[in-house]
């Protein structure tokens, strides 16, 4: 793999960039692999990468039904944070966030991780108490967050309507090293490295069946034929139930549409990421200049990558109320992704009822930020059958009742 650098670009400029090699190869599948990973989203690719990098397992295929990175990894609002409340969540998201800090250098691909700071606005006493609790928890978990008062909020986000009128901002949970990254680049950077390690990324190849013998996985059927494997990792987000069905088990997952949209590009107007959870909206500004906006999930099962319009209205209202200056800006494009929602809204990294099959899913509306950490933990789970970061996210929690519920605000006030 040829290294990327400004000097390499300069050299190539002289010959009209004719000498760049392919970022990743597009091979035909081999007959068998040690590990097959289904799904070339961020999580699948990161799993493969750390399997190779940390565990030396490189006889790996990543099978993707469409184009790599085209699932939720390619359609999310790119928020990265690790200010989670429960220990297991904080551990894996912070692992991810800290890997993001080094990712561009590690992959030799600029994923544009931008720790621009992230605010979760407290707009009720109840939210305020929840966020203060999170700060205390985070401090013990090694996650740097702090509670900031409204004046500091205002100075970080001058366009914020801090006085309401409906829900005045009382302060915010602030993670200074939360931020965003260039979502596509995360997938591409991992893919390039996986390919360079000799792994096969097989695009436009759909897994259509899972073959097992005596309770153990032996391979998969695909639109490009049968492929054998010792171990199979299903990392297909919204399609997890479909894959599980092929392997004969059910998951605590429902697939629903989550939407996002962007404004037309404008000059820098908001430097940090703002989440206003009470009114269900969040917003940041990309390097290209568009405001990137997301809100609530549809409540019904859906595989169409399109959501219902009323969420767009509801979230836009919330944000116009929060940032009145955006009212005359225009919505450029809206789209949807299919998110995998679990029973407790926390992810699953787990062995399954079938020996040799592992699942990594359930990241729902928030797994972009987890990609490096999840890949790291999943690789460890697949390679060593145990990962401390993954331990609490196993499927058995649904039987035992040991949920990881992040919705501090789920309990109703008064």
């Amino acid at each position: 793999m040829r290294r990327y650098s400004i000097f390499a670009v300069a050299r190539e400029a002289l010959r009209y960039h004719s000498g760049w090699e392919k970022a990743w190869a597009s091979p035909e599948p081999k007959k068998r692999y040690d590990v097959i990973i289904v799904g070339a989203g961020g999580h699948g690719l990161a799993t493969a990468y750390y399997l190779g990098k940390v565990h030396g397992i490189t006889n790996v295929a990543i099978i993707e039904k469409g184009w790599l990175g085209g699932g939720n990894t390619g359609r999310n609002t790119t928020i990265i944070r690790s200010n989670y409340l429960q220990d297991p969540s904080a551990a894996i998201y912070e692992k991810a966030r800290s890997l993001y800090e080094e990712l561009s250098a590690d992959l030799n691909y600029n994923v544009m991780f931008s720790p621009r700071g992230l605010l979760m606005l407290a707009q009720s006493e109840h939210e305020m108490r929840g966020y203060k609790r999170t700060v205390y928890a985070n401090n013990l978990q090694g996650v740097e967050t702090r509670w900031i008062e409204r004046d500091e909020v205002k100075s970080l986000v001058p366009i914020l309507n801090i006085d309401g009128p409906r829900y005045p901002v009382l302060g915010a949970l602030y993670q200074e090293r939360g931020g965003t990254a260039r979502h596509d680049a995360v997938a591409w950077g991992y893919a390039r490295k996986c390919s360079a390690m000799g792994m096969d990324i097989i695009q436009n190849c759909e897994v259509t069946g899972v073959r097992t013998a005596r309770g153990k996985v032996v391979g998969v059927n695909t639109t490009k034929g049968e492929i054998d494997c010792n171990k199979l990792a299903m990392v297909v987000a919204g399609h997890s139930s479909v894959l599980a069905e092929m392997a004969g088990f059910r998951l605590p997952i429902e697939s629903a549409a989550l939407q996002a949209w962007v404004s037309e590009p404008i000059k820098p107007t908001i430097d940090v990421v703002v989440m206003a959870n009470l009114v269900h909206g969040y917003m940041s500004q990309s390097d290209k200049g568009e405001l990137v906006i997301g809100g609530g999930t549809d409540g019904f099962n859906n595989y169409t990558q399109r959501g219902s319009w009323h969420h767009v209205e509801q979230t836009t209202r919330a944000l116009v109320e929060t940032f009145p200056v955006i009212s005359r800006l225009k919505m450029l494009r809206q789209w949807g992704g299919i998110v995998d929602m679990t029973g407790d809204r926390s992810p699953i990294l787990s062995k399954t009822p079938v020996e040799g099959i592992y699942v990594n899913c359930g990241w729902g509306t928030g797994g972009f930020k987890a990609i490096p950490g999840s890949g790291y933990a999943m690789a460890e789970l697949v390679a060593k059958e145990y990962s401390p970061l993954a331990a609490d996210f196993s499927l058995k929690r649904f039987k035992e009742g040991q949920f990881i519920d992040e919705s501090v605000a789920a309990g109703v006030a008064h």
Binding site: S104, R129, P265, G289, R317, V412
Partner: protein, 984 residues
């Protein structure tokens, strides 16, 4: 140079002159102009700068597809960035300025990037600046950000208002060109309810400009006649300035009506967003002309051939005096003819086809215009305006045969049907080899709720590009000159070398060139979606209306595969950008969200309340008096309530009546307690769990009659719990005879609390409220001070307390009366914070504080409220799971700091060591914490591992700034431990 012609202009009214400013200079235009036509008419052709290289840019198009000329429009609270000049109707006093340059449009420092273009290919950023996150974030990214973006963001809140509306129709016609009008006529004649939406201010689309004949009339006349006919029909609604922005699932169309963009400040809503449920949408959105990809095709003065025609015919503006037409099809010859008719010089027509001899070509040739067949433009000369074009063979590498002086290039690469609406909810397109275009595949339409097609496409949107084809499709007599076939041209000249390809633009706004797409292909970003994201092709504010097809053709070529194999990127709404204001509609300010008000809401406001949002309600948090901080007033309210009497507006508490022969059995399932055995006339505190075992709500249940119970819920929980009950009744136990009704709002509820509460009620009179007549945990109905009331003897504060329910319409009167009559007992209102402190002093839990969705009643030592006798209740099975039965669960205790200070909200008690993930071990946390003005010290409740078994132990709570607070585990009942004050 562009200029206004002396005559003509079908859309302008020369008798109505308008003035406007552009970059601080004043200009004139006419009513009917767009900002674009007026600027062009005023001789302005350099109007913007591109995104990345800051190249000089002018108008390319005349409609929604315009990628270059986006302006800042208006100022202050009416400033709008990125406003397309071509779709902005001119109005008197308009203020516009160009964007994305510094210091001026003519001299832009950013244009330095253009010289470094070879250093800035697609993907440049991915390959550079990855040394460290610090360097990226602190050094490079700020530069990138500042350079990007287009217009300046507004800094003031919007002065305009917006609204939304619903409409229903059988047939929605999207587009008011001739195809749309034909479709409307047909549907209307069939008696359908028809709604026709046209995005511009004018009907007829292209046909009046392009000419031909329909039903024996010229298109203009036909359009007029048809509109008259449609206008007379009751079942037809015609809407101009209304763009169909999206066609969503089940035929839900979003329409964007620009009501008052052209009459700002006239009091009308600026935009109206329509949500139309249409049985069928007839997509008649026309076609958009494609540019040709030759070097310098972005220099101001290079325009779409159809746009040149539009400016001349519609607005009497000629974009140039000496025009070169470059094309691969016959339609562009109309531009040559039109320019000639308008008295302009047509230098030559450069036709990439080896042979061109259709009737239109002949007509041009006959008028003495040089037609160069098999030729191409190698390069455009000029920087801020076209000076000349270099001519070469199309199938060569671009060696220059001739140089033609000109000031305008009219280009046509063929037409692309506007298939967006058809595609938004899943309709598929197919490649039409002959027409060199993607058009809707009628076999794979978007489908509706019944699986039926929800869209059909007509006219040029359907690939019936010529008027002849369009009329044939509609079954109406008519047509225009016959046209000979197009020859697709994706790169001009076909074998252009790097020097040309690095200047041949595909996406004008985002500066994506032929070379960028080829680079993406070379580097393996081979899926069209990868190419799009790697190069940003089609991601600009025109969403690839001009660039997509050219781009994917170049990509296909680079990959050596057929165009249909490459496919298109996904079309997504909105068709053109729509304002967030319109999406917001009326929901701003006071009516952003419903604000639920109790009958006493206004009184609280008039009495200086500090509010706290609770769901959609606002509840009084406290009533600070002059000079008082919130903490002072809360303390005052507590002390007063505990020593005299306090009044609380408790109206928001949920009140659900449950009645029927099976109501007791039902409530036994809903609550963890036994409710069926509650005697009539009595009250009982109850807990509700979800079937997953977690505590979801609590409240007092009252047995009103043998078969009737009244369940109180938390304020936030009322609707949810009512829904929860109905869910189980309707979907699980539908044979049980139970009716419920949510009576939350029927009653105002007032808590009269404190040692003097009884005296106050006795003063009002009418009911015996003595301990004997109305004992603790009972209720009574009657008349109090002339009000029909129901009084509950329940207490959430540990004081003597009466909760009085009165019909809501009398709530305020009773509240006022209690305040008045209470004066002699020092009665004063108290808010939710005082309520919270008082309940915490008593060790009562609060849903949302002690619970957070992970807590079960057992954690809160509420085992006494969990019936052991019942076989089943919601949550019972769940609570048997290993983790829920785990003796190590954290359980409720009281906490008292050793020094009497108040523990901060949410702090954790640490334990020894760290866990596997290197996180500090913890053994408990604070759930509620307050200063108790009665005890004059901090009190808290918390959940602690084995808590109740560890009374007296001291725990460490790391708090702010490295301080570790120490607190002792104590009984959570801090005040009146013996419970003597309530039951008096």
């Amino acid at each position: 140079m562009s200029q206004r012609l002396k005559t003509g202009g079908r859309l302008i009214d020369r008798s109505k002159e308008l003035t406007f400013t552009f970059n601080h200079s004043r200009y004139k235009g006419y009513e009917g102009d767009t900002l674009a036509s007026a600027l062009l008419g005023a001789g302005k052709s350099l109007l913007g700068r591109s995104f990345k290289y800051h190249r000089a840019r002018g108008l390319v198009a005349s409609g929604v597809e315009e990628p270059n000329v986006l302006l800042n429009l208006g100022k202050g609270d009416r400033l709008e960035p990125d406003q397309r000049a071509t779709t902005t109707e001119l109005f008197n006093g308009a203020v516009a300025s160009s964007q994305n340059h510094w210091p001026t449009l003519a001299f832009d420092v950013g244009a330095i990037n253009d010289y470094a273009y070879r250093m800035l290919p697609a993907g440049f950023y991915y390959k550079t600046f990855m040394v460290s996150t610090w360097a990226w974030h602190k050094l490079f990214e700020p530069i990138v950000r500042q350079a990007a973006g287009l217009g300046a963001a507004p800094t003031k809140a919007d002065a305009d208002r917006y609204e939304q509306a619903y409409a229903y129709c059988d047939v929605l016609v999207a587009g008011g060109g001739v195809a749309g009008l034909m479709a409307a006529l047909k549907a209307a004649a069939e008696g359908k309810r028809v709604l026709v939406a046209e995005q511009t201010a004018h009907w007829g689309g292209r046909a009046p400009v392009d000419g031909g004949e329909i039903d024996g009339m010229d298109p203009e006349a036909w359009v007029k006649k048809t509109l008259e006919a449609l206008g007379k029909m009751d079942n037809v609604r015609l809407m101009t300035r209304t763009m169909v922005a999206g066609l969503h699932d089940h035929g839900y169309a979003i329409l964007y009506e620009r009501v008052a963009d052209h009459t700002p400040g006239d009091g009308r809503p600026r935009h109206r967003l329509w949500r139309v449920r249409a049985g069928l949408t007839k997509v008649a959105s026309g076609a958009i002309e494609r540019p040709l990809a030759f070097a310098g095709n972005d220099v101001p003065g290079v325009m779409l051939a159809s746009a040149v025609r539009d400016y001349i015919v519609n607005w009497a503006v000629s974009p140039g005096k000496e025009i070169v037409v470059v094309t691969n099809n016959d339609d562009a010859y109309r531009t040559a003819l039109c320019a000639l008719d308008a008295g302009q010089k047509v230098v030559a027509v450069i036709d990439a086809r080896e042979m061109a001899n259709g009737p239109l070509v002949q007509a041009v040739k006959e008028r003495g215009v040089k037609v160069l067949e098999g030729h191409a433009i190698s390069k455009v000369r000029g920087k801020s305006g076209v000076v000349a074009v270099e001519i070469c063979r199309q199938n060569g590498t671009g060696s220059v045969e001739d140089v033609l002086g000109c000031d305008c290039v009219a280009m046509s690469g063929g037409w692309s049907p506007v298939v967006h609406l058809y595609s938004h909810s899943g309709g598929k397109v197919m490649w039409d080899e002959a027409g060199a275009m993607f058009r809707p595949d009628p076999a794979r339409p978007p489908v509706g709720d019944k699986g039926q097609p929800i869209a059909e496409v007509v006219g040029s949107a359907n690939g019936a590009l010529t008027l002849t084809a369009l009329c044939a499709e509609a079954g109406i007599a008519g047509g225009a000159e016959e046209e000979h076939p197009i020859t697709p041209v994706w790169i001009m000249p076909a074998k252009a070398g790097n020097d040309l390809k690095f200047k041949s633009f595909l996406d004008f706004q985002n500066d994506v060139k032929v070379s960028d797409v080829q680079l993406a292909a070379r580097e393996g970003y081979a899926s069209v979606e990868h190419t799009k994201r790697y190069t940003t092709l089609g991601m600009a504010t025109d969403q690839g209306k001009l660039s997509n097809i050219n781009g994917l053709a170049v990509l296909s070529d680079a990959l050596g595969q057929a165009i249909p194999q490459t496919g298109t990127t996904t079309f997504r709404p909105p068709y053109t950008p729509i304002s967030f204001g319109a999406v917001t509609g009326e929901a701003r300010g006071e009516i952003f969200q419903p604000l639920r008000k109790t009958p006493m809401h206004g009184w609280h406001e008039a009495h200086g309340v500090h509010w706290e949002p609770v769901g959609l309600w606002r509840r009084p948090y406290t009533y600070p008096r002059a000079g008082e901080g919130h903490r002072d007033s809360v303390n005052r309210e507590i002390v007063n309530t505990r020593t005299n009497v306090g009044l609380l507006d408790a109206s928001t508490l949920g009140k659900i009546v449950v009645k029927g022969p099976d109501a007791g059995k039902f409530l036994d399932m809903m609550y963890t307690n036994m409710m069926s055995t509650l005697p009539v006339g009595k009250c009982r505190y109850g807990l509700m769990c979800s079937d997953n075992g977690f505590l979801i709500d609590d409240g007092v249940v009252v047995r009103l009659a043998e078969d009737t119970w009244l369940c109180h819920t938390t304020s936030g929980g009322a609707d949810h719990i009512h829904g929860h009950m109905e869910d189980w009744l309707q979907c699980e136990w539908w044979d049980w005879k139970v009716y419920t009704a949510n009576l939350t709002e029927q009653y105002a509820q007032i808590a009269v609390v404190g040692p003097k509460a009884r005296k106050l009620l006795e003063k009002l009179g009418g009911m015996d409220v003595s301990k004997e007549a109305l004992p603790f945990m009972t209720f009574k109905e009657g008349e109090l001070g002339g009000f029909p009331v129901r009084i509950y003897r329940i207490s959430f504060s540990g004081e003597l307390s009466y909760e009085i329910a009165v019909p809501a319409n009398m709530g305020l009167a009773l509240w006022e009366k209690l305040n008045e009559a209470g004066a002699e007992f020092s009665a004063m209102p108290y808010g939710t914070e005082a309520l919270h402190v008082m309940r915490a002093e008593k060790g009562f839990i609060m849903i949302g504080d002690e619970t957070d969705g992970t807590v079960i009643p057992q954690d809160l030592n509420l085992g006494w409220a969990i019936s052991k006798k019942k076989e089943d209740f919601l949550g019972k099975r769940a609570q048997l799971r290993t983790h829920m039965a785990d003796p190590d669960r954290w359980r409720l205790v009281g906490l008292e700091t050793l020094d009497g200070t108040v523990l901060p909200d949410g702090v954790y008690a640490v334990d020894q060591g760290v866990n596997e993930n290197n996180q500090r071990n913890v053994q408990g946390r604070v759930t509620s914490t307050y200063y108790s003005p009665m005890l004059k010290k901090g009190i808290a409740m918390g959940l602690v591992k084995h808590g109740p078994e560890r009374m007296g132990e001291v725990l460490d709570f790391p708090a702010d700034n490295g301080v570790v607070l120490q607190a002792r585990i104590v009984d959570p009942v801090f005040y009146d431990k013996a419970g003597e004050k309530a039951d008096v």
